[in-house]
Symmetry: C2
Subunit: 308 residues, 2 copies
């Protein structure tokens, strides 16, 4: 297939590109950055541009069989600081993407949503896709509004969307500047011998999924013709304190903890029921948590030559 | 109380203003239009401006105890035509309103949402407030996203929102140009002896509420200190075909029906459970449907001096 990957140089997008390349798909990458983690891939048609640039987006969409959309200008941890920007960049940006897709008669769209934030405070865990969407932070509110709009365009305009609600992805290439995810951030602190900052008492439970497993699911879902919404998580929760203890064991070193006030838009528990992904795509998260954490630790260390 | 009414010259806002005046509140009206249905009200501080004008909005908010927000630049029947505009005008506009309110330390906000659209296809009727939000058209999607954001600002910033999910309001002063509501539109057609256009087979069921009842509830909810979300409907459904038959009986004349294809974002049934409004505010829709329709017919006729 001819596939446009929006955000294909980023954390999740780049792992999806790896898998699509292996399957022999013809790829075009639209990203505001160049490859950050490797040399440009041979045979890939790179388009550098801003997601808000309608003309550049329209050119990139032209002639494609499908679009995989991994662009987000915000993070769950920081989107609340400027909800207007979150809406303008990501919601209006995605509505514009759908416009240019329909104009170019490109109907297949994989959209990466956020199972960790769209449900809000869950009635029970693991959370199935049928659970009401009650997001309490800007990131999840915007993702939910995008999902609703994609469903509207499916009904009104023949868009063919498949939506992936990821749990908390982690792994190599995740930014460790403190906003994209706790695993990369904590490993970076451990590598530097710096204290780990924990928001709240560390009892919050999350469903961490290896980015390679998530990428594998995106490949399966996006290259199929199925429409709908799928959770993609391991279905097993771990508390932050237990996660940190595991990470320290893997790293063979420990660091102090600093406890900070928790955010009122952080949910206490988020674990996804991903049985629909297994039923329809035969997918399960294959990687063991400790093995995945070890691979991430190896990657963090590889960026810091001084660390043994 | 000092109350700013956004959209206070419009269909619903003007009825709320009537009731607030009677209770002796000190009113400021912010609207893009002048009074359309009456002379300017004595003692009201009118501010003419655009909802998107941040500076004008900030001036209007200054010194108020509460803001009642009835502005919408779109209608349920037409919002799908330009979802980007719906988001830019109404979602980003309301986020900007909250910003200027918090800057001015004005925390009380009544927001008019849409019980007829935010729920999507209901699991059962009448629909309680706890029903999941699964809007399938742009109008409801944007209203739901605004609701989620108001809840976020309640948690993070001390905003004190009360949200009114109206069913299908009708009554005097409703626009009859075919977009704001079927009752005014149909009565206008009946008065002109023109055919009525029905989208679908006319079997869709709606919960029509007299705008005076809705305005009464907005008064009670907005001037209280209660936060939360309340349906406001009669709790009784009527199909379009039955509604039209009743309207023709009241008008004493009948017109041809023209059936058009229905919209895929129209839900087949919407009837609201408003018991929470009764429990917390002692409110019920008081007006009988036929009496309300007769009042609306009188109003439509009053605009057309040639009709007996």
């Amino acid at each position: 297939m001819k596939i446009l990957v929006l955000g294909g140089c980023g954390f999740i997008g780049s792992h999806v590109v790896d898998r699509l390349m292996r399957q022999g798909h013809q790829l075009r990458i639209f990203d505001r950055s160049e490859e950050k983690f490797r040399l440009p891939l041979p045979g890939v048609d790179y388009r550098r541009g801003d997601f808000a640039d309608r003309a550049a987006l329209a050119e990139a969409v032209e002639g494609m069989d499908a679009v995989f959309h991994f662009v987000s200008t915000t993070f769950p941890s920081t989107a609340n600081l400027d909800p207007k920007r979150d809406v303008a960049d990501n919601l209006i940006g995605t509505l514009q993407l759908v416009e240019v897709m329909l104009e170019a008669d490109v109907r297949r769209l994989l959209f990466l949503s956020s199972g960790a934030t769209v449900y809000g405070l869950p009635d029970a865990t693991p959370i199935p896709e049928t659970h009401p969407l009650r997001p309490i932070g800007s990131y999840g509110i915007t993702k939910a509004a995008i999902e609703h709009n994609l469903e509207m365009f499916r009904r009104t305009s023949g868009l063919s969307p498949v939506i992936v609600r990821a749990s908390n992805p982690f792994g190599p290439r995740q930014s460790h500047t403190g906003v994209q995810g706790v695993v990369a951030t904590f490993f970076n602190r451990i590598a530097n011998g710096e204290p780990i900052e924990i928001w709240g008492d560390g009892s919050v439970v999350r469903d961490f999924v290896d980015v390679r497993d998530l990428a594998d699911f995106c490949l399966r879902a996006g290259t199929s013709t199925r429409e709908g919404v799928y959770n993609a998580g391991r279905g097993v929760g771990i508390s932050l304190v237990d996660l940190i203890a595991t990470m320290e064991r893997i790293a063979g070193r420990s660091v102090p903890r600093v406890f900070k006030p928790s955010s009122v838009t952080d949910v206490p528990v988020s674990v996804l029921d991903s049985r629909a992904a297994e039923r329809d795509f035969g997918w399960r998260a294959e990687h063991d948590l400790e093995e995945s954490l070890a691979a991430t630790w190896d990657w963090v260390r590889s960026l810091k030559p001084g660390i043994g």
